[in-house]
């Protein structure tokens, strides 16, 4: 469907502030999206990610800062003049219109002729796999189908930017994964620059070109999913993205000593002592009578399992192959080692 002639535009949010009385929902957010890129904004509830998206959509007004799309300043442009497609968390299809009329709604407002509207609406419904439901009403569709129609409706107007505000959070787990992959496929197909807001890190890491982690109205880090996971820039990102062990460490000359092993530290680490944020998959365990650690629990998780060990009062989780994990028993002595990949050391 590259034939839809949609070309992604750059999106720039510069030094956005949004204050509600004393509450600072956004506190100097700067975020740039490349043309055709899908960026996920990730963060806990109340971190300001939805506020940022609403300001980009024109549904909220920034206290200060600038919004530019394709180099054009849209800061004071009302929502209906911004040419952005949006999918909401709540089901937002118009209940009195059929599926095809919902999809064609934006085109009608743009004065497109009836035949063109119908053709484009059916094209979009085909894209989301719902062309056979064109004459149904929203209440006759499941939640997942409704969100797919909402996506088709948002894309029908050939928006300059696609905004997704937690579109999957009201759906059950299986549909969520299906639709998540479908959104990514369609986004790659049409090439629209997309901002995807979510609190689900698995979702963000799975679909985005880059993920922005937000906290307290600020962007903590914007990086590819792999970089975000392996090289967190701040303690917040290290703790928020994925599961991390907090193992006491001392730092000297760019090297941390973690469980007696020298490991390089990531930029932004503490200067002397603190705790190293170590991923469970970076920890290995092996049965050893002379080992310094004791197995506390073994938790089967399919091909890989989690082993919780106690090292001098510190609980450490290791993610190891189930074949190794299931041979261990609580109370057994084990030796523990850490992969020498760089870690972030933060103040305790």
């Amino acid at each position: 469907m590259k034939g839809t002639d949609v070309t992604g535009l750059t999106v720039e949010l510069d030094d956005l502030h949004r204050h509600y009385g004393d509450v600072r929902a956004l506190d100097g957010l700067t975020l740039h999206l490349e043309p055709g890129e899908l960026v996920a904004l990730l963060g806990p509830s109340g971190c300001g990610k939805t506020t940022a998206l609403r300001i980009l959509a024109g549904l909220d007004i920034a206290t200060s800062g600038e919004v530019r799309v394709g180099g054009k300043d849209l800061t004071r442009v009302p929502a209906n003049k911004r040419d952005m497609g949006m999918v909401f968390q709540a089901y937002s299809l118009f209940p009195h219109l059929t599926v095809v009329d919902n999809v064609a709604f934006g085109l009608k407002l743009r004065g497109r002729g009836g035949a063109e509207r119908r053709r484009r609406a059916h094209e979009m419904l085909e894209l989301v796999g719902l062309s056979e439901h064109a004459s149904r009403y929203p209440r006759q569709l499941s939640g997942g189908q409704q969100q797919r129609v909402a996506l088709a409706r948002a894309l029908a107007i050939e928006p300059s930017v696609l905004l997704l505000d937690e579109p999957l959070s009201a759906l059950d787990a299986k549909v969520r994964v299906q639709l998540r992959d479908e959104i990514r496929r369609i986004q790659l197909d049409v090439g629209t620059t997309t901002l995807f807001v979510t609190h689900d890190q698995e979702e963000a890491l799975a679909v985005a070109d880059r993920v922005g982690v937000m906290s307290d109205g600020r962007l903590e880090q914007l990086a590819t999913p792999a970089a975000l996971y392996s090289s967190p820039a701040t303690p917040f990102v290290g703790a928020f993205v994925g599961l991390s062990n907090r193992i006491p460490a001392s730092v000297s000359a760019g090297t941390a000593t973690v469980l007696g092993q020298p490991i390089p530290v990531l930029p932004g680490s503490a200067a002397d002592t603190g705790v190293a944020l170590v991923r469970p998959e970076a920890v290995s365990v092996a049965a050893s009578e002379s080992g310094a650690a004791t197995v506390v629990a073994v938790s089967f998780r399919g091909p890989v399992s989690q082993v919780t060990v106690d090292i001098e009062g510190t609980l450490v989780i290791a993610q190891v192959a189930s074949g190794i994990a299931l041979a261990l028993e609580p109370g057994q002595r084990v030796s523990v080692s850490v992969d020498p990949a760089p870690v972030l050391v933060v103040a305790d």
């Binding site: 959509a57 024109g58 549904l59 009302p78 929502a79 209906n80 003049k81 911004r82 040419d83 952005m84 497609g85 949006m86 909401f88 709540a90 089901y91 937002s92 299809l93 118009f94 209940p95 009195h96 709604f105 934006g106 407002l109 743009r110 009403y137 909402a150 409706r153 948002a154 107007i157 905004l163």
Partner: protein, 253 residues
């Protein structure tokens, strides 16, 4: 206990239909001979003043519904979307007429009506303004319930993101989804206007309820016929509106 339900229904039916039956009985009774006669109904139909009063009351009902909807619906939608903090104030203002006795309103409004009469003439249709105030509390409740049943904010934001201006949002997105509330507000307004006596009588306008009372002073049979005719007319209007609502719902299925 299977017979309890039919028995209760029967008791209610008797309670509602007994007065109607009595009206029919009275309005067809020849008080001299004790037999049946259509004279009272004939007198009613041939009475030009009654016919005029019926037309006036129907016109008032239509105008009241129209003005109430034009004022109230966009206001309520706008308050929900743009100034939700004002919703309590609007609710208070709309419910206020319930708390003020009609007599007090009439006394208060007489001064205003000298201006209304000056600018618009002394037509009974100027009662529309008072009737809009009278039906506000009931219409507000019906529309409020309907608006609460949909996610107005999300629908409006979705429409805005697709390029809709505020007028389009109200007229083409929100209003079509609260039609059942609009019809309920219209039902109750029509019923109230067709039965309203106090205002029109005290303000010396000749509406159907006023004419029925006047008629009762001269020809009790015709007065009964007029009362029954009013009840049937109101019931017919309400059934027609309700059928309209049902047809709309069926079409939307």
């Amino acid at each position: 206990m299977r017979w309890v339900r039919p028995l209760v229904l029967l008791a209610f039916a008797a309670f509602f239909f007994a007065p109607l039956w009595s009206l029919l009985d009275f309005s067809t009774k020849d008080f001299l001979t004790g037999g049946r006669t259509g004279d009272h109904w004939r007198a009613l139909v041939e009475n030009q003043e009654v016919r005029d009063a019926i037309v006036t009351s129907l016109e008032l009902a239509v105008l009241t519904v129209a003005l109430m909807l034009v004022l109230l619906l966009p206001t309520m939608i706008w308050v929900r979307l743009r100034v939700p903090q004002a919703s309590r104030l609007v609710e208070f203002l709309c419910l206020l007429p319930l708390t003020v006795p009609p007599l007090v309103i009439v006394v208060g409004i007489n001064g205003v009506y000298s201006w209304v009469n000056y600018f618009l003439g002394g037509s009974a249709l100027t009662l529309t303004f008072v009737y809009v105030v009278l039906v506000l509390p009931f219409a507000y409740r019906a529309l409020d319930a309907s608006l609460s049943s949909i996610d107005v904010t999300t629908l409006a934001e979705a429409a805005r993101s697709l390029g809709a201006g505020w007028l389009t949002v109200i007229a083409r997105v929100v209003a079509p989804n609260v039609v059942s509330g609009v019809l309920s507000a219209a039902f109750i307004s029509v019923a109230l206007v067709l039965g309203e006596f106090t205002f029109s009588s005290l303000m010396h306008f000749d509406t159907l309820p006023v004419r029925i009372v006047l008629l009762g002073k001269g020809d009790i049979g015709a007065s009964m016929a007029a009362s029954l005719a009013t009840l049937l007319l109101t019931a017919l209007l309400l059934v027609a509106l309700s059928l309209l609502d049902r047809r709309r719902s069926t079409r939307a299925e």
